[in-house]
């Protein structure tokens, strides 16, 4: 009986039903778009920030004391310590390897460039490295083991992707041929331009290298020259060595657990907490995992970058939560108001049913089920619309070259959108239906 009534009522009022579903859908579109944005916006921001400098510095455990002044750098020879370049690909085998978005090794020495003292830095500009294969297990203190499927293939990284803020005039030097990227300050002092050649000498070794590009950074790099790592290793006769590695890793802002782990050391955490800490991409745990795979290394947080990022993203998240909560509230209001109007227009129908002997419960049930169906229909439509809208918004907001958009359709969004749509539709029709039931059938039928 109820089913037949429902089907008839929905069918006969096709146009009206469509209109209500449409308006519920519009509002749910907004809800779902807002939720989509809320779930991904801070991640997108975090990713965005990662192109503005590494946040972890890996150095040898016995880090030598450097004397760095005005872009020059000296290290006492007896103190020198190095990392092995061959160990670097292991960075992509840590537990949080997907969060390691880039790294580059550095090896530098003071050299004589056309009679001037300058720092020559060997690095990877844009290198494709194979990721070591094999299954990996991560064992925990309480005996549990987790296996993580290995990454396959190659990983492309280097200074070029790590330091996106560098303004390079000309080209970045290539990995397979000798060439120099020169700091703008030094280029001005030496009076060389792109395409020119400069002589670099260290002790009795020397090389003549073509200038491929001029870099402007505003920092000390402007007084230095950059070559690919292999060339530097040969010139310094330090085959296979690097003195430090900059790593850019996506991390979560520290919370109380991370702060405690930093204070007392991860080894002193209780086993369950250790596991939680290890399996969350905090700066501390990612650094810890780097130290696990690179022998004789110390991973330090570059606090200027990490602190600012943590503070900024924390604030952003809070702002977005407020803004989105507000938006969801307005959208819900819109659904509710629509439902009120829809029921109101059908007062006479309610009166008629009552006059024909329907009891209040039945009528209420009919209208609530109808509202529920409308909510579900509108909610699903709105969910899909919201996905499209969010995609549109995020393309406009976060389209930065080099970042593929990964607006993952979060699993939680569909149920939340539906819940809001249905809940609000029910709430919106409950009160006006009740109100209509209270009225005398005669009155409603008369139209007062």
């Amino acid at each position: 009986m109820l089913g037949r009534l429902l089907a008839k009522s929905l069918w006969r009022g096709k146009a009206r039903t469509a209109l209500v579903v449409l308006s519920v859908a519009t509002a749910s579109t907004l809800v779902s778009a807002f939720l989509n944005i809320a779930f991904t916006v801070t991640e997108e921001m975090a990713k965005e920030l990662r192109s503005f400098g590494a946040n972890i510095l890996v150095v040898p455990k016995s880090e030598p004391l450097e004397i760095a002044i005005g872009g020059l750098r000296f290290v006492a020879p007896e103190e020198s310590a190095y990392l092995e370049e061959a160990d670097l690909p292991w960075l992509k085998t840590t537990f949080w390897r997907h969060n390691i978005v880039g790294f580059a090794p550095f090896l530098s020495r003071m050299v004589e460039v056309e009679g001037e003292q300058a720092l020559m830095v060997g690095t990877w500009f844009d290198r494709e490295i194979p990721i070591p294969e094999g299954r990996r297990f991560f064992a925990f203190a309480n005996g549990s083991r987790r296996e993580v499927a290995p990454d396959k293939g190659t990983f492309r990284t280097g200074l070029k992707s790590l330091s996106r803020w560098w303004q390079v005039e000309g080209q970045w030097p290539r990995e397979d041929e000798d060439g120099i990227l020169i700091g703008s300050g030094l280029a001005r002092t030496l009076g060389v331009g792109i395409g020119g050649n400069i002589r670099v000498a260290l002790e009795e070794r020397s090389a003549v290298l073509p200038v491929r590009g001029i870099a402007r950074t505003g920092g000390e790099e402007e007084e230095q020259i950059f070559v690919h790592l292999k060339l530097a290793q040969e010139l310094f006769s330090l085959p296979g060595k690097a003195e430090k590695v900059q790593v850019s890793a996506l991390v979560k802002p520290d919370n109380a657990l991370a702060a405690r782990a930093n204070r007392i050391g991860p080894a002193n955490l209780p086993p369950e907490e250790y596991e939680t800490w290890y399996c969350t991409p905090y700066l501390g745990s990612v650094s810890y995992q780097i130290e696990e795979v690179i022998p004789n290394a110390k991973a330090k947080a570059i606090r200027q970058v990490s602190e600012a990022e943590g503070a900024f993203l924390g604030k952003m998240r809070l702002t977005f939560i407020f803004v989105v909560a507000m938006a969801v509230l307005v959208a819900s209001l819109a659904v509710m108001a629509t439902m009120v109007t829809a029921i109101f227009e059908r007062r006479q129908e309610i009166g008629l049913m009552k006059a024909l002997g329907a009891d209040a419960k039945q009528v209420r049930l009919l209208f609530l089920v109808e509202a529920g169906l409308t909510g579900i229909g509108g909610g699903i439509l709105g969910y899909l619309g919201g996905l499209a809208l969010a995609q549109l918004l995020s393309v406009r907001t976060f389209s930065l070259a080099g970042f593929g958009l990964s607006l993952s359709s979060q699993a939680a969004i569909l149920p939340i959108t539906l819940l809001i749509a249905v809940g609000v539709a029910l709430l919106g029709s409950f009160f006006p239906a009740k109100e209509a039931m209270r009225l005398e059938p005669v009155k409603t039928l008369k139209g007062n």
């Binding site: 519009t26 950074t217 109101f344 007062n448």
Partner: protein, 366 residues
């Protein structure tokens, strides 16, 4: 006459009018709050970004040093509100306990502001013979907190006590920091500086600040630290687009809900309207009465909404940033216009439909 009808109608239908006003007020308040956030938050976030550190560095152009007395330029009133903080530096290599170390003279009270990420174990130096040493330098030199050590530069020598150990993850961990005046005395470089870090307001203002600095302090070359400046630019630009879009969406959603409420309110009164017309009321006169009512509801709702919205955005500002945000002047007229415009538009729209019907049909209830 019109006024009497209007007042009477408002008095008799207190409940319905209150509901309509509430709906308008809610919609308008959310729009006002969103717009306030959109404009107010940027300034706050730009300031928040200062924790990223200085975005400008001043270095000598031709001579080897900058003059300390020229720092007054940065206190000039044209630059005062553009510059959030600055810290002067003098760098020299000196022998500390027999090892070469980069010795940096600075003003600690200022550097604490420009470089808030510096983590100091122990305490910040206060006296003129106290020093801050980078963690790596301290371990290489074998120094602990409160140790005394000597610093030799050419023929002069001074003794310092180690007040704090510094951790930054950067080059500072290899350096030793002492009060600027002490270092100038040690190196006989009274009144000289090697660089000044300047933390300036981010975004569009930055280029102007650079231009002003170039003119005001010609002996210094102003370099933009691109790492910091670019990150700030990118974040602010994206934030701006994001908040604009969200405000727009909120505007649409709020409009929808006000529209639905006002339509219901107008529909409820079609019998009344028909009755007026049946009793000989002119169409325009009847329309005017209802429009005036909608206008009143929109105005009251809009004003209420503006007040609530302001409050809401200040609450958000307070809980996110711990301080008030500057309300945007644009948000209030927009909120008000939304309230009045939509309620007027809706009631006119519904009225047109009803007035087109024959009064007799409406009164019969069909």
């Amino acid at each position: 006459m019109t006024r009497r009808i209007l007042l009477g109608s408002l008095r008799r239908r207190k409940g319905q009018v209150a509901v309509a006003i509430c709906a308008v007020a809610l919609g308008a308040s959310l729009v006002v709050a969103a717009l306030n956030l959109r404009y107010g938050i940027e300034g706050r976030l730009a300031q928040e970004l200062r924790s990223y550190g200085a975005n400008l560095v001043l270095v000598p152009r031709a001579e080897p040093f900058l003059k300390e007395r020229d720092l007054v330029i940065l206190e000039d009133k044209r630059l005062k509100d553009r510059i959030i903080g600055y810290a002067p530096f003098i760098h020299r290599v000196a022998k500390v306990e027999g090892k070469d170390v980069v010795l940096v003279g600075t003003r600690f009270s200022q550097i604490r502001k420009t470089n808030p990420w510096w983590q100091v174990e122990g305490r910040w130096p206060e006296k003129e013979d106290e020093a801050l040493i980078g963690s790596n330098a301290a371990s290489k030199l074998g120094l602990r907190l409160n140790d005394r050590f000597s610093v030799v530069h050419k023929t002069s020598q001074l003794s310092f006590s180690l007040a704090g150990i510094l951790r930054t993850g950067g080059a500072e961990e290899h350096q030793a920091f002492v009060p600027m005046e002490t270092l100038q005395r040690l190196t006989h470089l009274h009144g000289f500086l090697t660089s000044v870090l300047v933390s300036s307001r981010a975004g569009k203002d930055l280029d102007e600040t650079v231009a002003i600095l170039q003119k005001a302090w010609p002996q210094a070359e102003t370099r933009t630290l691109l790492q910091v400046a670019r990150a700030e630019e990118a974040l602010l630009a994206r934030l701006e687009i994001f908040l604009t879009l969200v405000s727009l969406l909120i505007l649409i959603a709020a409009g929808l809900s006000v529209y639905a409420t006002m339509s219901t309110a107008a529909l409820e009164r079609r019998v009344e309207m028909a009755l007026m017309r049946a009793l000989g009321g002119e169409e325009r006169r009847v329309a005017w009465i209802f429009a005036a009512e909608a206008l009143g509801i929109g105005l009251i709702g809009g004003i209420l909404g503006c007040a609530i919205g302001l409050l809401l955005s200040e609450i958000i500002g307070l809980s996110v940033f711990g301080s008030f945000i500057f309300p945007s002047l644009l948000s209030l007229p927009i909120g008000l216009a939304l309230g009045v415009g939509i309620s007027l538009f809706c009631s006119l729209w519904v009225m047109r439909r009803i007035l087109a019907l024959q009064p007799a049909v409406v009164l019969r209830g069909e």
